[in-house]
């Protein structure tokens, strides 16, 4: 039992990221409102970012900014174990940007759709399309 709990706690981040991702995915598939789908899409994307950030976490390490003095001669010996893995952070900066870019495009499309059909509900739009 304690094993189970410790497994659950040890990878709590991973479970949460999976939960969030599935929430987002479900919203994208099952929701009817276009903007809700976009919200779901963003949750989906942030879940992946959460996953990546979780990869980077390192026990007993600090943020990936080196302590330093000024001037070229002040060089500490840097130990890798002291700092959190920066690479996932870099990747996720990119992913966040991609996320906001996708959001912008998606919203622009939603507005175009609204202008055409005067609704954001997918089933209503499809009814209108079929009637034409």
């Amino acid at each position: 039992m304690t094993d189970l709990i410790s497994t659950v706690v040890a990878k709590y981040n991973y479970w949460i990221y999976i939960t969030l991702m599935m929430i987002g995915l479900y919203a994208m598939i099952a929701k009817n409102n276009l903007v809700k789908k976009i919200v779901g899409m963003n949750i989906f994307q942030t879940a992946i970012i959460l996953f990546y950030v979780s990869i980077g976490v390192k026990k007993g390490a600090t943020i990936p900014i080196l302590e330093h003095g000024h001037g070229p001669d002040v060089h500490h010996v840097v130990h890798a174990v002291d700092y959190i893995n920066p690479l996932p952070h870099v990747l996720m900066l990119t992913a966040i940007v991609v996320g906001v870019a996708t959001l912008g495009v998606a919203l622009a499309l939603a507005i175009r759709i609204y202008n055409n059909y005067n609704t954001l509900e997918e089933n209503e739009i499809l009814t209108q399309v079929r009637e034409k």
């Binding site: 989906f44 992946i48 739009i125």
Partner: protein, 496 residues
């Protein structure tokens, strides 16, 4: 200069896209020539790269001077050496053809259109050329985002279709990203070659298995592999023809390239075909994709939509070929990337010409088209024959290798599916020919002349079309050289 070709290939279009976007504010007429020049340079460098690869073998280009796996590097080997010229040349030809379409449909937005167009090509070229798994994701997003923009500009239903594409595309790209994350968590690397080096001890890991499945599902989503294809037909059909002429030939093909790259370079065939051994199931999925694509195409009474379902079926060809797990099948799949890009371009350019002149693409609009647009339809016939797979057009030869691979792998279901789809294609295209050729029927029996008023598309649309049409035959005739000098080196040694 030639050692900088890999950088030029991507940088020149990127910078030109920026220049075009500025030119869009200053003088709209400059946009088109700049775009042509940019893609011309890209095409030139990609061909130059191909020849360098033929001479020297794999080229590695370190961006920022950092050696991989620290920095990002471009790897150009025979596989992407072959795909790059196809991408850039297809894009260039369609660009030339799109000039008139843009003038007709959205003259005010020529600037952003060409910007997005060139950016999309940048993205596609980048996807093909990169050797870094994450870099691929970023470029994939560039290609996708610009693609959404281009596709949404069309008929009334285009935005909704594109938004659905956006949802699916985002899920696909995110799945890919997640898969890369899984690989990263177990290997700690993002460089494709490096991952492949680190993976063998981890072949039994569940995480690697999941990474592979997730990556594949993501890529399949982007390439519209059958059960995941639902976004494609509408998105491509309702878009303007300048955009669909770029995206229909390239997007799915580039994603097939990514799939083959993942199989060959990242996960390695040993893992995919020996450890995992699910290829029979995937080939059966491909069979379903081909059959369903053909059947759904048969249902359509609308030329452009019919073609989009053919695209879905063709994706099945390539996926199936790649997953046959033998030399002939993979050769067929790689060859089909090239051929299908050209074939699809050919037929979509034809649709572009028809829409430009007739303002419609439903079957009812095509009556008497052989008399009205004989040159366009002539090229359409060549493209159609290539899709059907009639020698000496190139479509025949990739189908040849695919069927040969199917026979060697004892996947007779795949063989039958290919033949079935060829036969359906005959029906599909000859149905279109019939409408264009016979209808409207002459009133009284006998040899009534149809009132044939030529209304042919302008020369800037016909010339690219004929270049493609002729290249369909030339590529077909030179299949032997392509296979002997390029494709056979794609396949790793020891691959049966």
């Amino acid at each position: 200069m030639s050692e900088q070709y890999p950088a030029l290939l991507v940088i020149v279009p990127l910078l030109s896209a920026l220049v075009i976007s500025v030119a869009g504010w200053v003088n709209k007429r400059l946009c088109f020539p700049i775009a042509v020049a940019a893609l011309g340079v890209a095409a030139w460098s990609s061909v130059g790269l191909l020849f360098r690869v033929l001479d020297e073998g794999v080229i590695v280009y370190k961006l920022g001077g950092w050696s991989p796996p620290m920095g990002i590097a471009y790897y150009i080997d025979y596989l992407n050496g072959l795909v790059l010229p196809v991408v850039s040349i297809v894009a260039l030809l369609n660009l030339i053809s799109s000039k008139k379409i843009v003038e007709q449909q959205f003259p005010d937005k020529a600037g952003p259109f060409y910007t997005l167009y060139v950016l999309m090509v940048t993205g596609l070229l980048g996807i093909v050329v990169t050797g870094d798994a994450f870099n691929l994701y970023v470029l994939l997003e560039i290609a996708s985002l610009t693609g959404y923009g281009l596709l949404a500009m069309g008929e009334e239903r285009a935005p909704l279709a594109t938004l659905n594409y956006l949802y699916m595309g985002t899920i696909g790209a995110c799945f890919y990203l997640l898969g890369i994350g899984y690989l990263y968590i177990v290997t700690g690397s993002l460089n494709m070659v490096d991952i492949a080096r680190l993976l063998p001890p981890l072949y039994q890991s569940k995480a690697v298995l999941a990474a592979f499945i997730i990556c594949m599902v993501g890529v399949w989503l982007k390439m519209a592999f059958f059960p995941l294809h639902a976004w494609l037909p509408n998105a491509y059909t309702y878009a303007n023809s300048a955009s669909s002429g770029l995206i229909a030939p390239l997007m799915t093909k580039v994603m097939v390239y990514v799939m083959i790259r993942l199989i060959l370079t990242v996960f390695t065939p040993k893992f995919v075909f020996n450890t995992l051994a699910v290829h029979d199931a995937v080939v059966w999925l491909a069979v379903i994709a081909i059959v369903m694509g053909a059947v759904l195409a048969l249902k359509e009474r609308n030329l452009k939509k019919m073609l989009t379902y053919i695209v879905v079926a063709e994706v099945g060809y390539m996926v199936g070929g790649a997953w046959l797990g033998n030399r002939a099948g993979l050769t067929g799949a790689v060859l089909h990337i090239v051929n299908d890009a050209l074939m699809t371009l050919c037929v979509f350019l034809v649709v572009g010409n028809i829409v430009y002149k007739i303002k419609g693409y439903a079957f009812g609009d095509l009556k008497g088209l052989f008399a009205k647009m004989p040159f366009t339809m002539g090229a359409f016939v060549i493209g159609a024959l290539s899709i059907i797979g009639v020698p000496p057009t190139c479509g025949f030869f990739s189908k040849w290798y695919l069927i040969l691979g199917a026979i060697q792998a004892h996947q007779y279901g795949f063989m039958v599916a290919l033949l079935f789809s060829s036969l359906i294609n005959v029906v599909l295209f000859f149905r279109v020919f019939e409408i264009g050729f016979y209808e409207p029927f002459s009133d009284h029996e006998g040899h009534e002349h149809h009132p044939a008023v030529m209304a042919e598309a302008p020369l800037t649309m016909l010339v690219p079309l004929y270049v493609v049409a002729i290249s369909l035959i030339l590529v077909g005739l030179y299949t032997g050289d392509i296979v002997n000098h390029i494709v056979q080196f794609v396949i790793p040694k020891g691959f049966m």
